[in-house]
């Protein structure tokens, strides 16, 4: 085995060499800058060892942004290849790797961490907590995600990328047809990141249940917090399934077991089954927090309470339940019989109902409001029609016999880009513009924001709308090329143009960030948008301890209530003396432990069991050390609080 792998250790090909060079140059650049400005210590002390939810959130967002660019580059490469028939820009093998990494990265290393990042930033502030329930675990979550993503990306330069699709169906992804290390990267990278995600789910759930500010009942929580709660439950019950599926395939590939193999009685379809038991809840995991963001943004910029609060909560609960009972709609065409298809088809359609309830309540939140069209609001508004197109085509896919005609076609591709981009990505951008001042203390520029928005949304539709038609014309997904004369060529060319338009749209975001760092409007009030929930009641950015006094809450939309509502007087309490605040210590161990995981799993990818074993042993040593550590927290003194509050102009 070893010699074979060694031959292919470093992937060859001109574009890869360019990528190698770029990666090396970028890394050198970062190292250089850090050294020149003597920032190593700062980086370690302030970021790599932090357990502060806000900083962890920001790190998630930075990593997710990088992954968005990586995944987007994959998208551009695919679109370039497909622009004209019989194109030779990418070969089949390379194209296969590109769509696999594109899908995997976009969903697991872009969408999820973006949302988890925003949750980290906003949720504890919204419930008036000083941090999440388990800050140390939170750091572990981030670093396992980060190193999982790094491991996955490493495949690009060392060993070769996975190429069996983000769904990685056996037996194509099994040892017989796919002996190289690429698929192992997929399995180990996802499993590592999955550990962190599961931990995040538990962490957020406990935080929300146990750490709400005094007086805040469940039905007083901001809708984004509610969506986090439901998402966490989905994570907690869906991710173990992914863990199992990945581990079983790992066993097949590394140790010759026959769970999913074609011989010895294995059942490839069991992979499909397990994958989608996780995979379907997964798409709700990436949409529900976006729903939550939408609820916040629309209600803030309409200057109104959210319409139908309890219906909004109820519909999310319904979605959570249903999402575990629909998975077969991803393989209607696998011959599990009409009873199975009917059941899962109808249960899938039912999800339209609670989702519709949400859509209509958003629309009616604007009813008799005063709508301010900020960039955040534009993204949120664009969400509605776009996601509805995605959702309705989803319902069309749920019609099992019709799906026999859509399955694996570009119709499906169009459906899920409408939900994933029109839903998740628009939601993320709404959240990014909305919470940006809370994270960094200054606003993004609105004018550049509008450019960002309009170029992206128009190009988005130019890219993905024609795909519905292409699907009906018989173009299937994962074709690296197609012959001329089928009527596909024009549409493909239009889509490619659209894709580059999206890239330009994203450039405006990059420009906006750089411009705003220098010239952006500073937010000195802490309440950049006339907000409604508690995150706007503290400074921007929030101090380490979030709130000098934990607020006491008397109902929904607490901060709005504080400013204009009927409980205004109750909130006007006399200034109490500060008390020392109890906070967790920073720790380098989450970083180091995840690094050990990374090394270990990298060893397993190449079946270097010694490296794998030693790495795992190191992980256990770190866990043991933690168990024996008793000095895990400290107090922030009253003087320090006074100092911080005075600097923020609050004394």
């Amino acid at each position: 085995m070893l010699p074979h792998y060694f031959n292919h250790l470093f992937v060859t090909g001109t574009d890869i060499y360019i990528a190698d060079v770029l990666i090396i140059l970028t890394s050198l650049g970062i190292v250089g800058v850090l050294t020149y400005f003597k920032k190593w210590k700062w980086l370690w002390r302030e970021w790599l060892t932090t357990v502060d939810h806000k900083k962890i959130g920001i790190m998630y967002i930075i990593a997710a942004t990088a992954m968005f660019f990586r995944g987007g580059m994959d998208g551009l490469m695919m679109r370039t290849q497909l622009a004209v028939p019989n194109n030779h820009f990418l070969g089949a093998e390379h194209y296969d790797q590109v769509f696999t990494t594109h899908g995997t990265i976009m969903i697991l290393f872009m969408a999820m961490p973006y949302l988890i990042g925003l949750i980290n930033v906003a949720m504890p502030l919204q419930i008036g907590a000083r941090d999440v329930a388990f800050p140390y675990l939170n750091a572990i979550s981030f670093w396992t995600f980060f190193f999982g993503a790094m491991l996955f990306n490493l495949s690009f330069v060392i060993g070769g990328s996975p190429d069996a699709g983000w769904t990685s169906y056996a037996p194509l992804a099994g040892p017989t047809f796919d002996p190289g290390p690429g698929e192992n990267y997929y399995l180990f990278g996802l499993n590592l990141a999955g550990i962190g995600t599961l931990a995040s789910g538990i962490n957020f759930l406990v935080t929300i249940i146990k750490m709400r500010a005094p007086g805040m009942k469940l039905m007083d929580m901001p809708m984004f917090t509610w969506s986090t709660l439901i998402t966490s439950i989905l994570i907690i019950f869906a991710f173990p399934v992914l863990t199992v599926a990945l581990s079983l395939l790992t066993f097949d590939r590394l140790f010759g077991s026959h769970i999913f193999s074609m011989t010895h009685g294995g059942m490839p379809m069991m992979w499909v089954n397990l994958f989608w038991i996780w995979g379907h809840p997964e798409v709700y995991i990436v949409i529900l927090p976006a729903f939550g963001i939408l609820s916040e943004v629309i209600s803030t910029f309409s200057g109104k309470k959210l319409f139908g609060y309890s219906a909004m909560v109820g519909s999310m609960v319904a979605i959570a339940f249903l999402s575990f009972t629909v998975w077969v709609h991803h393989f209607f065409t696998m011959g599990a019989g009409p009873a199975v298809n009917s059941f899962f088809g109808v249960s899938t359609m039912l999800i339209a109902i609670p989702t519709g309830v949400k859509v209509f309540n958003w629309i009616f939140t604007m009813y008799r409001g005063k709508i301010r069209f900020t960039t955040a609001m534009l993204w949120a508004l664009a969400f509605i029609p776009t996601f509805v197109v995605g959702g309705m085509t989803g319902v069309m896919l749920a019609v099992a016999p019709a799906d026999y005609q859509y399955h694996n076609s570009y119709f499906l591709i169009a459906h899920f880009h409408y939900t994933l981009i029109g839903g998740t990505v628009f939601g993320v951008f709404a959240g990014l513009y909305y919470w940006w001042p809370k994270m960094f203390g200054f606003k993004l520029n609105e004018r550049l924001g509008r450019w960002n928005f309009w170029t992206f949304i128009i190009s988005f539709n130019v890219t993905f709308l024609p795909m519905f038609l292409l699907g009906l014309m018989g173009m299937t997904r994962r074709m690296y090329t197609y012959p001329p004369g089928l009527g596909w060529s024009h549409l493909n060319m239009i889509e490619t143009v659209g894709a580059f338009g999206q890239a330009i749209g994203m450039m405006f975001l990059a420009v906006n960030i750089v411009w705003s760092i220098k010239y952006g409007e500073r937010d000195v009030t802490g309440d950049a948008w006339d907000g409604r929930a508690l995150e706007w009641s503290t400074t921007s950015p929030a101090p380490e301890y979030n709130f000098a006094h934990v607020p006491v809450v008397y109902g929904r939309d607490a901060f709005w209530d504080m400013k204009y509502g009927k409980n205004r007087e109750k909130y006007q309490v006399k200034a109490k003396p500060y008390r020392p605040i109890h906070m967790p210590n920073n720790s380098g161990r989450p970083f180091l432990m995840s690094l050990a995981f990374f090394i270990s799993f990298w060893g397993f990818v190449f079946k270097w069991y010694l490296v794998g074993g030693l790495g795992l042993a190191a992980v256990f040593v770190f866990m043991y050390l933690r168990s024996f550590e008793y000095d895990t927290d400290h107090y922030i003194s009253v003087e320090e609080i006074e100092h911080t509050e005075a600097a923020a102009g609050r004394l």
Binding site: A92, D96, G165, Y169, L172, F177, M262, T263, G265, G266, M267, P268, M269, G303, K304, K305, G308, A311, T333, G335, P338, S342, G345, V346, G356, V357, F360, I363, F364, R368, G369, K370, I371, R372, L381, I384, V388, V395, M396, A398, V399, A400, P401, A402, Y404, Q405, Y406, W454, N461, V462, L465, L472, M473, G474, M479, L486, G487, H490, L491, I494
Partner: protein
């Protein structure tokens, strides 16, 4: 703020222009295979597609109109104050309306869905003697065996019109799906399993088929023509194959199954037993 309206309008225009151009560019509509059913199976699916599209268009329109109305009417502008009601919390009646109407729509969609799902497991017309074709996807080619005629073709298919054909699908490699959009929807080919798919062509013609589930490097080239001919011409074709084409030898058969690569169109006047290896992966133990 009124400035915001014009980009909104512009966007609407862009949308309309886009949709129109998409339709125009698609040129002759007949290239939209799924919307041009040429057999009873595809037609049943087509009917469902159209029905679901009508229902969705109705919902979509309702949403878009409401949405546009709110945006225009309640945008921050002078005079909006007179409507402004920051304490509006919801409305029970409306919640019921937008739960019940979608529920009815779902029911209207679910009933034909279930009916058709069951119907498609049966031959589309009972009148004729059905015929069977055994389909095997290999890396990266399609192998078609006609057990009734005992001939084999590779990468093309000839079928009689007006006869329900039962395709028995399997694979000797990664999974794939067998799809002839004009004749009907797809079904998986899986190693170790034999899935059945009924299709029928009503008219003579050449239809394009392809594999629709990614199966590796050569996947994109797994495209094949389906020639539908009247029964008499079909019989004539079979006779011609029997007379002119070589028999498939075991060595050739193994080459087809085991060699990972593309294959030209091939025709064989007969095939040996086990030309496509019986899958040894008996799912259940004999015990």
């Amino acid at each position: 703020m009124s400035r915001m309206l014009s980009p909104k309008k512009r966007r609407g225009l862009a949308f309309a222009a886009l949709s129109a151009s998409v339709l125009l560019l698609s040129g002759c509509g007949s290239q939209i295979a799924v919307l041009h059913p040429e057999g009873p199976v595809a037609r049943q699916e087509y009917n469902l597609i159209i029905w679901s599209f009508i229902l969705m268009a109705f919902v979509g329109l309702a949403v878009f109109i409401l949405f546009a109305y709110m945006l225009i009417k309640y945008r921050a502008r002078p005079g909006v104050e007179k409507y402004y009601d920051p304490n509006l919390e919801g409305n029970r009646k409306l919640e019921v309306v937008w739960t019940v109407i979608p529920l009815l729509i779902v029911i209207a969609l679910a009933i034909p869905t279930v009916k058709t799902t069951y119907a498609l497991t049966q031959p589309p017309v009972q009148a004729h003697d059905p015929m069977e074709i055994d389909v095997t996807s290999a890396a990266w080619k399609w192998i078609f065996q006609y057990p009734g005629q005992h001939i084999e073709t590779v990468n093309y298919l000839v079928i009689p019109t007006g006869v329900p054909v039962k395709f028995i699908l399997t694979s000797v490699g990664p999974m794939n799906t067998f799809w002839i959009p004009e004749l009907g929807g797809m079904e998986f080919t899986m190693p170790g399993a034999n899935l059945g798919l009924w299709l029928e062509a009503s008219k003579s013609g050449v239809y394009l088929g392809r594999g629709a589930n990614f199966s590796g490097k050569g996947f994109a080239h797994m495209q094949f023509n389906v020639y539908a001919k009247p029964q008499a011409e079909f019989n004539q074709w079979v006779a011609q194959v029997k007379a002119q084409d070589p028999p498939l030898t075991m060595a050739q058969a193994n080459q087809l199954v085991n060699h990972h690569g593309l294959s030209p169109i091939l025709t064989f006047s007969s095939y040996p037993a086990g030309a496509v290896p019986q899958n040894q992966n008996t799912l259940m133990s004999g015990m």
